[in-house]
């Protein structure tokens, strides 16, 4: 449609204004502040790359706990949750309509509340005394004799976070993959059969995935964002920031710790930039895997 310059501008203006103020500008401010020693009280001084150098060399908690935790959590919940989403979508696509709809709803519904409201539920299940449900079950089965303080024992916190993360990872991406599979072209499968594709697994690798690469990419981006958006789950489960022994500390918690508890905003901003770069790196990898080649 030819409209001249006025109309595209008018139609984009409301979205564009809010997008710039609340998405682009915060990123720019974060980058700007990351080169300063802003502490909310004094006027910020320019300190160059000091904050970044400190992250890499001085912040032993970051290097020892936060970064390894974040990478472990993100690699398992991100790609792991993504593969699980694909396999589940692929499996339920082979069922008749009504059971498929019910199962899709069951798998999708944990993601509806995205962690926050459900933290209480996991707290009750993993409660540390013998009235905790997991403890009661395990004691009943004779697996353990004493109740385990799941959420205050460093060794268990990250695995519990990963289970909760995976549980709520069948989000929008899962629905996109399911829709992609449901809409795949029947003729391609017939042609594939002529070319010697024998079983469902080969169908999945040679036909299903290549024909829905664009949906796979969208789902991958959604999986990455979901993973990092749920990054505060450790603090919600344990109820403290920092988490006991820093065992469930992810970058998002570390940012809050420095930003809102210690008011070292410049340093927190540098951490934010590092997080955004990690997310961008993940997306880059997803793009490499699924982008359609020209």
């Amino acid at each position: 449609m030819k409209t001249g310059k006025k109309y595209p501008f008018l139609f984009l203006l409301p979205y564009g204004a809010l997008f710039v103020v609340f998405i682009i500008l915060p990123i720019i401010v974060a980058i700007g502040l990351s080169f300063t020693d802003f502490n909310t009280i004094q006027f910020p001084n320019f300190v160059g790359f000091t904050n970044y150098i400190n992250i890499a060399t001085q912040d032993s908690i970051f290097m020892q706990y936060v970064l390894p935790n974040t990478v472990t959590y993100a690699l398992i919940v991100g790609p792991g949750g993504y593969c699980l989403a694909f396999l589940l979508a692929w499996a339920i696509a082979q069922l008749t309509r009504i059971p498929r709809t019910i199962l899709a709803l069951i798998f999708y519904s944990p993601s509806l509340t995205a962690g926050t409201a459900m933290a209480v539920l996991w707290k009750i299940i993993f409660s540390g005394d013998e009235s905790g449900y997991l403890n009661a079950v395990l004691i009943n089965l004779g697996v353990i004799n004493e109740p385990i303080a799941w959420l205050s024992t460093a060794a268990y916190i990250l695995p519990i976070m990963i289970i909760v993360g995976l549980w709520s990872s069948m989000g929008v991406g899962f629905l996109a993959i399911l829709a992609g599979i449901m809409n795949s072209d029947e003729e391609l499968y017939e042609a594939g059969a002529i070319d010697g594709i024998k079983n469902r697994f080969q169908q999945m690798i040679y036909i299903t995935i290549p024909t829905m690469k664009s949906q796979m990419l969208f789902a991958a981006v959604m999986a990455i964002v979901n993973t990092f958006n749920n990054g505060t789950i450790g603090v919600q489960l344990t109820g403290t920031n920092p988490t006991p022994g820093y065992a469930g500390q992810l970058i998002v918690n570390h940012i809050d710790d420095y930003g809102f508890l210690r008011y070292e905003m410049g340093y927190a901003a540098a951490l934010s930039v590092v997080l955004l770069l990690i997310i961008a790196l993940f997306s880059k990898i997803a793009n490499k895997l699924f982008a359609e080649k020209e």
Binding site: M1, T96, A117, V120, L121, A193, I194, V225
Partner: protein, 290 residues
């Protein structure tokens, strides 16, 4: 093509080949469903069952006691729960409505109008799909305080309205509206605003439904604004109050109230999704990133 038995996708009736899929999926479905059933049971347990040892998974004598305790504790704190509910409904409604209006407008421009920077703008929005708000909470706070919106409803509303995912999905859907339809309306003398209202909006209803669900999910449970941008208790949202209940005490009686609170946060999401799921699946079919 002697051996071809169909691709197995979307079968019209049950056959034995599906049994193995059910065998694999059922345990997983139970694992996914278990916590939801658990919280549902827990919310209706009377005190005797909450204290029961060993604890029971299911509820024997369901009661609404936890819900009434929840309302009472709000009243005791000086702010009736209806105030939080009102705040949440107001904020969520405005975010969903305004979000849909601006996303559909922008989607129409990006999909159907020809202008120089169209490709660039769409690419920027696509890159913003991976935007994680939690990473820039502090700069957002500084911006909101710079705009003088701390402790106002705007602080709840404005940061959430522009949703890149929503624009992206609606734009992909608008791409499917035939250009001929728009040309025809244009020749009949319809202005772009008229085309937007009478041609585009009615044809992209599934994408609008999806946008509403995504905005609702994000807004209904949003805590950052109440935690960081709002100081006055009576301007905070239900999500915030529910979260304080959930964190307040880990005593057994508190658990029942917390479970009831979680259930109240969860149920509207579930109902909305069940009601609109056909539209969502329809939209997701167009969700590919090229």
């Amino acid at each position: 093509m002697a051996g071809y038995k169909g691709n197995g996708i979307n079968p019209s009736h049950f056959d034995r080949g599906q049994i193995k899929i059910y065998i694999i999926l059922l345990p997983l479905a139970i694992f996914m469903l278990f916590p939801l059933v658990f919280i549902f049971c827990h919310a209706f347990k009377p005190a005797t069952e909450l204290f029961a040892f060993p604890p029971k998974f299911y509820v024997v004598n369901p009661t609404l006691g936890n819900f009434s305790a929840m309302f009472k504790s709000a009243a005791n704190a000086g702010i009736p729960m209806s105030k939080y509910v009102f705040n949440s409904i107001l904020v969520t409604f405005v975010v969903c409505f305004a979000g849909i209006v601006i996303s559909t407008m922008a989607a129409f421009a990006l999909s159907k109008m020809k202008f120089k920077l169209r490709g660039v703008v769409f690419q920027i929005n696509q890159a913003a799909l991976m935007f994680v708000a939690a990473a820039v909470l502090i700069p957002r706070y500084l911006i909101i305080s710079g705009l003088g919106m701390v402790d106002t409803y705007w602080a709840h509303i404005l940061p959430l309205i522009a949703m890149p995912v929503s624009l992206f999905l609606i734009k992909q859907f608008v791409d499917g509206v035939p250009d001929a339809l728009i040309e025809a309306a244009s020749i009949d003398g319809a202005s772009p605003f008229r085309i937007y209202r009478s041609v585009i909006l009615p044809l992209v209803k599934p994408a609008i439904a999806t946008g509403i669900i995504l905005a609702f999910q994000q807004c209904w449970g949003y805590l950052d604004s109440s935690n960081n941008f709002i100081n006055t208790e009576s301007k905070k949202t239900l999500a915030f109050y529910m979260n304080t209940l959930a964190n307040a005490n880990n005593m057994v009686q508190g658990q029942g109230v917390a479970a009831a609170a979680s259930l109240i946060m969860f149920i509207p999401n579930l109902i909305l999704f069940i009601y609109l799921q056909k539209d969502v699946m329809n939209t997701m079919a167009h969700s590919g990133i090229k």
